[in-house]
């Protein structure tokens, strides 16, 4: 817990500067509300915002779990089944070029206005980074270890479970970190396309009414969810990768920047 307390002063300074600019330049609140107004909107609408945050947070977490699980499973399949690697991998590589956001209206058409379309959207944008990172990790297991495992009488399943998967965990972890940071984008884009609930919905509604302070309040909630999710995922991965000696040096966590 060293990062958050240390980030706090800088955050307060930024908020102070924001407040100062709004007051000094007398920016109209429907263009840029001051932080104090945002906090007021946050308190005023806390009940509806809490419900919206729960909806969006649920979509994000569901998308993250689904996308990560499907991604890792696909990567394992690609590594185990040679023909899958031969025929499906090129397609996967090419399909990464498809602008996934453009599919949002289609997903809404298929899954309706409920959370289904948003979870699908989040799953979809998470899926490819996780597959790519996991395939990379599974592919580059240390040949010396694999040789050793063979002389120790390991079958393909034991090799996958005891060697390739743990060895790929750092790569899979990077994939999951990326997934955790893009999952909120998927959920919100899904909500913008068509929804009746959620923070994305709240932002659109507030925007249409020029309730800019409420829009910022919803945005703040979204940021809080995203940061909390990232920190939680980062912690969990740190714990899962306890054996990684170079974590302190190669960490993707912000501690690196604070040294």
């Amino acid at each position: 817990m060293t990062v958050l307390p240390r980030a706090l002063p800088a955050l307060l300074v930024l908020l102070g500067a924001w407040q100062l600019i709004v007051v000094v330049a007398s920016v109209p609140p429907w263009i840029l509300p001051a932080p104090v107004q945002v906090v007021q909107a946050l308190l005023e609408h806390r009940r509806t915002l809490a419900v919206d945050a729960a909806v969006t947070g649920g979509e994000i977490v569901a998308g993250l779990l689904l996308g990560t699980t499907l991604g890792i499973a696909s990567a394992v399949l690609l590594c185990v089944v040679r023909s899958a690697r031969r025929w499906a991998l090129p397609l996967m590589v090419i399909s990464q070029a498809v602008p996934v956001f453009a599919l949002a209206p289609v997903l809404t058409l298929w899954f309706g206005y409920g959370p289904g379309a948003k979870v699908a959207m989040a799953t979809l944008i998470i899926y490819f980074p996780v597959v790519a990172a996991s395939v990379d990790g599974l592919r580059y297991a240390d040949p010396g270890m694999l040789d050793l495992a063979r002389t120790l009488g390991a079958g393909p399943r034991a090799e996958l479970w005891h060697l390739r998967l743990p060895a790929a965990l750092p790569s899979i972890g990077s994939g999951i970190r990326v997934a955790a940071s893009v999952a909120p984008i998927g959920a919100v884009v899904g909500e913008w396309t068509g929804s009746s609930r959620g923070l994305g919905h709240a932002m659109l509604q507030a925007n249409a009414r020029l309730d800019t302070d409420l829009m910022f309040a919803a945005l703040a909630c979204l940021c809080a969810i995203a940061v909390a999710l990232y920190v939680a995922v980062d912690r969990a991965l740190d714990r899962a990768l306890y054996w990684q000696a170079d974590r302190l040096h190669l960490s993707s966590s912000p501690e690196l920047l604070l040294r």
């Binding site: 050793l148 002389t151 054996w243």
Partner: protein
């Protein structure tokens, strides 16, 4: 529980072994006999084919021509343990679990394996470090764990691919003696590029060049030897000369 060698360690026979990668010959009609229960060193420059021969014997690489086998006529796979230059410890397992890796990979019961692993760690002088992760061990300690893992398998034939080359001089010296003591009466094939190491540990030294055995020298006296004696030094000169001709 004992680490005594299996009752009968077989010798190894390599007959006209041929192997090529992408048209380039790695083993060229290589023939050699490895006597049962002895240390045999394969000495050669990089690219002389010594590591390839080891991989073939370990069953990791099929031959293009010729054959390898045990001189008792039984199959080799399952009777061979491999110890490489890289200790290949799994960084997410403790020293103890690394020693017992074979049991884990074959799905054998864990508890008994751990007890045996602890005994073996004791033998290699790491009895206190069973719970340590490889990253917290020194290079010499890691290679000791790898040695214990080799002993855990209790195989009659041990193939070593420059297992001491990355260690500092003192640690190397200690580990050579330890390995020699613990692997007594097994058939050990030691790949090395260091004539002194070969002469210190092995009873037979074969010089490899261009994928074939150039010459095999018989070294008398009990190993590990003092490498400063006149006979050993004479061998060193001869091996240097042989290596330089290759």
């Amino acid at each position: 529980m004992s680490v005594a060698a299996p009752a009968r360690a077989p010798g190894l026979v390599v007959e006209a072994a041929g192997l090529a990668f992408a048209g380039r010959a790695v083993l060229h009609a290589l023939s050699v006999r490895i006597e049962a229960g002895r240390w045999h060193a394969l000495l050669g420059r990089s690219g002389s084919g010594k590591s390839s021969l080891l991989r073939v014997l370990a069953g990791l690489q099929p031959l293009d021509s010729g054959r390898v086998g045990a001189d008792d006529g039984q199959a080799l796979p399952g009777r061979i343990a491999l110890m490489a230059q890289d200790d290949a410890l799994l960084p997410w397992l403790s020293a103890r679990d690394n020693v017992a890796l074979g049991a884990r990979l074959r799905g054998e019961p864990r508890a008994a394996a751990r007890g045996r692993a602890d005994t073996l760690l004791d033998r290699v002088g790491l009895g206190e470090r069973g719970g340590a992760l490889p990253a917290t061990l020194s290079g010499g300690q890691r290679q000791r764990v790898a040695l214990a893992r080799t002993l855990f398998e209790d195989r009659a034939v041990v193939l070593m691919d420059e297992p001491f080359s990355r260690l500092d001089a003192i640690t190397r010296h200690e580990l050579q003696a330890l390995a020699h003591r613990l692997l007594a009466r097994r058939t050990v094939l030691l790949v090395t590029h260091d004539p002194l190491e070969a002469l210190r540990l092995a009873d037979r030294v074969s010089v490899l060049a261009d994928g074939a055995v150039h010459d095999t020298v018989r070294i008398d006296g009990a190993a590990p030897r003092d490498t400063r004696t006149a006979t050993v030094l004479a061998h060193v000169d001869a091996l240097w000369a042989a290596l330089q001709r290759t």
